[in-house]
């Protein structure tokens, strides 16, 4: 069976008057349906470019991005570093934003949004403005805004990096559960190695710009409790951590 998503020798460069900046060169990897893949790399290595390529905001300059659904791009949900809830909209109306844009505010979708908001404790605050909510609640609302579109593929661009440590653990826990319950395939971009190991099935380590794949590591943790904190105490956790750390360090020294 063909992979869900496959990058084949993809290259992409940014152009401006000072010249071109090669962000990605000859990058190839695959993502299977149902996988939670984390992509880790040194900062500025073109990770966000990668997400823009997957979601179709950019087209590759060379090579190709192939989806199993040959002709049509799958619906992609995208979660950014900050929640970007609009302060002039209520939580409910923020969650409706995607449906409004796609002109698909059907009864079913609205019922699904109601269900999600009740399930993840936002129903009570649906008429509040974002600034009245905690960081964790805002991040959940941002997530629901994307989930109501029922995406086939979920892209997370360092979605927790703007949160303080405690909130970060809680929220990543929350979000991981929600996403695993409702979406099949997830790509998480992060520079946090621990987050990558504790959340994902497989880690792809990228080199410095232009980004290439340094190593792919399937993650198998032998702990029964899959919560974010518990996975950090799994016996294999440190080995994975050191392996990825060495890769990243090695790459940064050579430049």
């Amino acid at each position: 069976m063909k992979p869900f998503l496959s990058f084949e020798n993809v290259s992409f460069a940014y152009h401006n008057l000072k010249g071109e900046t090669q962000a990605i060169q000859n990058l190839s990897f695959q993502i299977e349906e149902g996988e939670f893949v984390a992509i880790v790399g040194p900062s500025g290595c073109g990770k966000s470019t990668l997400l823009s390529l997957i979601s179709g905001l950019f087209e590759p300059e060379e090579g190709s991005i192939i989806f199993r659904t040959e002709n049509s791009r799958p619906t992609v949900g995208y979660m950014l570093q900050r929640d970007h809830l609009f302060p002039w909209r209520t939580i409910w109306s923020n969650c409706m934003l995607g449906l409004e844009i796609q002109h698909s505010k059907t009864k079913d979708k609205i019922a699904y949004a109601e269900y999600l908001m009740k399930e993840y404790n936002l129903w009570e605050v649906r008429n509040k403005k974002p600034n009245e909510l905690s960081g964790g609640m805002r991040q959940r609302a941002a997530l629901i805004r994307t989930l109501v579109l029922n995406p086939d593929l979920f892209l997370l661009d360092e979605p927790f990096s703007a949160l303080d440590f405690q909130t970060r653990i809680e929220v990543s826990e929350d979000i991981a559960i929600i996403i695993r319950n409702s979406v099949k395939t997830v790509v998480l971009i992060t520079h946090d190695i621990q987050e990558a190991i504790s959340l994902s099935d497989r880690v792809i380590v990228l080199s410095n710009r232009p980004a290439k794949v340094v190593r792919e590591i399937p993650i198998k943790l032998t702990c029964t409790d899959k919560s974010v904190l518990a996975t950090r105490t799994a016996p294999e956790f440190n080995d994975y951590f050191n392996l990825i750390w060495e890769d990243l360090k090695g790459k940064e020294e050579t430049t």
Partner: protein, 265 residues
Amino acid sequence: MTRQEQFMKKHKRFHRMIALSQAGLFLSLLVLWEAAARLQWLDSFFFCSPSIVVSCFIKMLLGEQLMMHIGYSLLEIAISFVIIFISSFLIAVLLWYYLALSRILEPFLVVLNALPKSALAPLFIVWIGTGTKTIIVAGISVALFGSIINLYSGFRETDPEKILLIQTLGGDRLDILTKVVIPAAVPNIISVMKVNIGLALVGVIIGEFFAGRRGLGYLIIYGTQVFKLDMVLTSIIILCFLAMVLYKIVQYLEHIYLRSGTLAK
């Protein structure tokens, strides 16, 4: 007394002090002016005095159709303001929507904005004639270009990540405009309108100087020509009040907007 009560008391005392000082300063200026006129430090023919202004105001109110003049000026200001608002908003939207258009027009807008518009007023008379139309054109010309530039640069300051969000949700440029750019710019739109209401007033008065048969600007010019300086000063003071009232109206609209923003539906 709790700490909170102490704080509230201190806060209230401070604000009362500000209000009292403002009123005190205003009153002492009036008293000084009146005294200067009565003690003949100033020639009251040229500089009037508060009492002369008040009696002149009553006289104009009774005998010289003051309300009609104020009404015309207000009407011209209101029409200019509405036209400035609608047209500069639409043009700014177009400039945002078509990047190339904004680049092409930018130098023209900058020059037109920098040009002292009162220099154009005599030309307007030649082109359009005297009367209300010319006055309104003068009112518009003073504020229009600055308003376009300010609204447009407000639109340009939209958070690029919010724009990215709309794109990731599948939105096009029109979605970006209506869902993010305009709603995010509302505070800027309001502050531009506060400036515009003042500029519209300036433009209309300039227009009335040149082309008016009615209005406060006409009264000022007429008063100077026939040496009725009390009429001139009274009109200017009425203008001060008008400017304040118009500003307060826009401020009140802002207040309504802010309240609707904090009180969720």
